[in-house]
């Protein structure tokens, strides 16, 4: 009898605690409702792509030497380099260059290996088109520069989470001059240099300190 | 003939047509699933007849019990064992059909005779409408108490039987050679219904 009652008591306790957890969960959900939406209202707001964003590839026809390194490092040999050998000058003459962005995976190998830096990655990612053949960019299309999100008057640029100042989650009402959390690479380099010089100073002074310690002993 | 009477008549005719054709279809249709669904339709039509008789509580109970419980149970059973297999041809099916048809026809004629020869007390007792619920309760707990209690005991027995059948935790045979022995031992081994382990 007592065992049965104990069981009932345990069961009730479990039920009550389950109900408590449920109410806790409801509280969490309810609390989320008063928070500001974290979504980006895309066509009207856009995130500013980061510095190393790997978007559509930009290509400068005049810099290219038609060495085909980009083709060789590409995982699927995608770039098409159309050149002819000019027998008189014994130089390659570039006619056309194209990359099919329908097949490109934006790995950036070609950009990495280009000896003349004629390839670079842009921040453009809106490549949608009605026809997959129009994704095959020729050297003219590749040479176009994308409009920057920050300079587009119809778009409200938003900073990504990592580019917000410390403690701020919402990029909406942020003045443009606010600095991001953490240090910029240039700052880090500067600090490193400063540290180094200080260390050298310390090394100089450390010769003195042990002497002092020794003397107290 | 006023509007109320004619609507009642039309409703009655439609409902009876549904009941008669539906029940015939339940019996005669080859597809057992159709039969089951049509049975639900017939039950609902019967509930409609009760409604026409101003017995709304009985109608609702009819829907709740027959449509909501019995028919759904039948459907469940059909859908869980819905194997499409050809039945073996039964010997002398025609004579069997003839005999059962004869019995049913005889019953129908008997019933018709009874319904014609009986002097119905027309118009019948006035319907009590909404009070019916209370009246049913009164009857169930006074002069029909014994059948009521017996029915509940029967239901309890059925429920306990179902639990006993469902709770038998026999391990599934693995198809070994020793299986024959195991089977025997399983049958001989009595599994207590409410042992300490089974309560946990």
């Amino acid at each position: 009898m007592l065992g049965f009652l104990e069981k009932v008591a345990d069961y009730t306790k479990e039920a009550v605690s389950a109900a408590k957890y449920l109410v806790d969960g409801l509280g969490v959900t309810f609390d989320h409702m008063r928070r500001r939406p974290v979504t980006v209202q895309y066509p009207y707001e856009k995130l500013i792509p980061s510095e190393r964003y790997r978007g559509r590839i930009h290509y400068e026809f005049d810099k290219c030497i038609a060495c085909e390194v980009c083709v060789r490092v590409c995982p699927i040999n995608l770039p098409v380099v159309d050149w002819v050998m000019n027998k008189e000058t014994k130089k390659k003459e570039l006619r056309n260059y194209s990359i099919d962005f329908g097949a490109c995976i934006f790995c950036g190998n070609c950009v990495e290996y280009c000896p003349t830096n004629c390839l670079s990655m842009t921040e453009e990612y809106e490549l949608a088109s009605f026809d997959r053949h129009s994704l095959n960019y020729d050297n003219v299309a590749l040479g176009r520069l994308p409009t920057s999100v920050t300079s587009d008057p119809s778009v409200r640029p938003l900073r990504e989470l990592a580019y917000l100042p410390e403690g701020i989650m919402d990029p909406h009402e942020l003045p443009a001059n606010q600095k991001r959390a953490g240090k910029l690479p240039t700052q880090i380099i500067k600090e490193l240099q400063a540290d180094k010089s200080q260390e050298e100073d310390n090394n100089n002074s450390s010769n003195i300190v042990p002497n002092k310690l020794n003397s107290t002993n | 003939m006023n509007i109320a009477y004619s609507t009642e008549l039309i409703c009655f005719l439609i409902l009876s047509a549904v009941i008669v054709s539906g029940s015939l279809a339940v019996v005669l249709l080859e597809n057992i699933v159709y039969s089951a669904f049509l049975l639900g339709g017939v039950f609902m039509a019967v509930a409609g007849l009760y409604l026409l008789l101003n017995a709304s509580f009985v109608a609702a109970a009819q829907i709740l019990v027959y449509v909501g419980a019995v028919n759904v149970l039948i459907l469940f059973a059909i859908m869980l064992v819905n194997k499409k297999e050809k039945l073996k041809p039964i010997k002398g099916l025609k004579t069997r059909k003839l005999i059962s048809g004869g019995v049913c026809g005889g019953l129908l004629i008997l019933l018709l005779r009874v319904s014609i020869t009986t002097k119905w007390n027309l118009p019948g007792p006035t319907s009590i409408g909404e009070e019916a619920t209370e009246r049913i309760g009164e009857h169930l707990f006074t002069d029909y108490l014994l059948p009521f209690e017996l029915a509940s005991i029967l239901l309890l027995m059925a429920m306990i039987g179902a639990i006993v059948l469902a709770r038998r935790d026999i391990s599934i045979s693995t198809g070994d050679i020793n299986d024959f022995k195991n089977k025997k031992s399983l049958i001989n081994k009595k599994i207590p219904l409410l042992s300490e382990n089974s309560l946990k």
């Binding site: 409801l26 409702m33 | 509007i3 609702a60 829907i63 909501g68 469940f76 619920t133």
Partner: protein
């Protein structure tokens, strides 16, 4: 007790004054409430769908529909329109008759149940004596429609979903009915109007929720299970069963399921507010309030104000519960089928039986507070 506004009486009298017979007037009256129910049910669904999308968005820190009308208020309308003009597909190997009848059998009982939802003293379609019992009976038809559509789709997911739905609604019908029974025992009537009236003697203190807190919880859980709302949406568990019995449906037939689901949710919320939260009753007694101003309760102005307050109160309470349901949707994970049946048979059923017993004994012990 005052009779309040009686629209049917005044309508039939008005028509009779035009020179028509009483029966004809009644016949003219009949389609009006039907139309009203259909329209109000559909509007209720539209509002609920909008609320669901907006509240879900808020709970997930999104914005939700925004551009179809102000704050996306026309989005459900656009959804409905889309479903209306979509191609109506019947799978080739499906059973076309059962496939078509299934969704109808799911929707019709739900709409029929609106018969008994009172928005005021006489503001309901019909004050049936068996009131709440009618709802329980009607909602037991639904599983047949679900089984029908599950079977006829000729799809294993559909069949599994249909079977699950039927099993779920059968097992949760019982604690639901027992919870209702406790209420009925206290108010001595099955009629929803009587149930509400018995709660409105002393403002919100006399609501049934104080006398039946356990019953309230049981009823709400069971109502959520009957509506297949999220903690119990196993029949259409999209990760396991694609969409359950709705998998093969498209266009208007799918819309019927969709409608039935949301109408059922609104209906359940309305019935919770009727059974436990005092229905159309204002938290402060209207009688007391009108006597405070010095107006007779039979004053037409007071009557109209009271009726509109009643409607607003009923809808407000119902939508509060809808809000709770949506919040629960994003809080609780889906239960497994064994957990669902465990909860139904091993938790809710015994508890509701105990609740019934306790209510009965309390009724015998304190006949004044628990309905003599």
């Amino acid at each position: 007790m005052n009779s309040g506004i009686d629209l049917e009486m005044s309508f039939t009298q008005g028509v009779q004054n035009l020179g028509l017979s009483h029966e004809l007037a009644h016949l003219l009256w009949i389609p009006l409430p039907m139309l009203l129910v259909l329209v109000s049910a559909v509007i209720g669904v539209l509002v609920t769908v909008w609320l669901e999308r907006k509240i879900s968005a808020a709970a997930q820190q999104r914005i939700g529909p925004e551009y179809a009308g102000a704050l996306g208020i026309l989005q459900p309308m656009a959804d409905g329109l889309k479903l209306l003009v979509k191609e109506d597909i019947i799978p080739a190997r499906a059973d076309s008759v059962l496939f078509t009848v299934g969704p109808i059998l799911v929707l019709v009982p739900v709409i029929l149940s609106w018969l008994i939802v009172p928005f005021g003293q006489n503001l309901l379609i019909s004050n049936v004596g068996i009131g709440i019992f009618l709802w329980i009976a009607l909602s037991s038809i639904q599983p047949i429609g679900l089984l029908m559509s599950g079977y006829s789709s000729n799809n294993k997911y559909s069949l599994l979903g249909g079977l699950r739905a039927a099993a779920q609604s059968i097992s949760y019908e019982i604690p639901l009915a027992l919870a209702v029974l406790a209420i009925v025992m206290m108010s001595n009537s099955l009629s929803t109007v009587d149930i509400v009236e018995q709660q409105n003697t002393a403002g919100f203190l006399s609501w049934n929720i104080w006398r039946q807190p356990v019953g309230f919880v049981i009823f709400w859980i069971c109502a959520l299970a009957e509506c297949e709302r999220l903690p119990f949406d196993l029949p259409e568990a999209e990760e396991e069963l694609v969409a359950g019995y709705q998998t093969e449906y498209a266009g208007m037939k799918f819309a019927l399921f969709y409608l039935a689901g949301y109408i059922n949710l609104v209906l359940s919320a309305l019935l919770v507010s009727v059974l436990y939260l005092g229905g159309w009753g204002f938290p402060i007694s209207i009688d007391w309030f009108s006597s405070l101003i010095g107006l007779s309760i039979d004053n037409p102005l007071v009557q109209i104000i009271a009726a509109s307050i009643g409607i607003v109160m009923t809808i407000l309470k119902a939508y509060l519960l809808v809000f709770l349901a949506i919040l629960l949707r994003w809080t609780t994970p889906r239960v497994r089928i064994d957990q669902l049946l465990d909860l139904g048979w091993k938790f809710l059923l015994p508890i509701s039986l105990v609740n019934l017993l306790v209510t009965a004994s309390l009724k015998l012990a304190f006949p004044i507070t628990f309905g003599g």
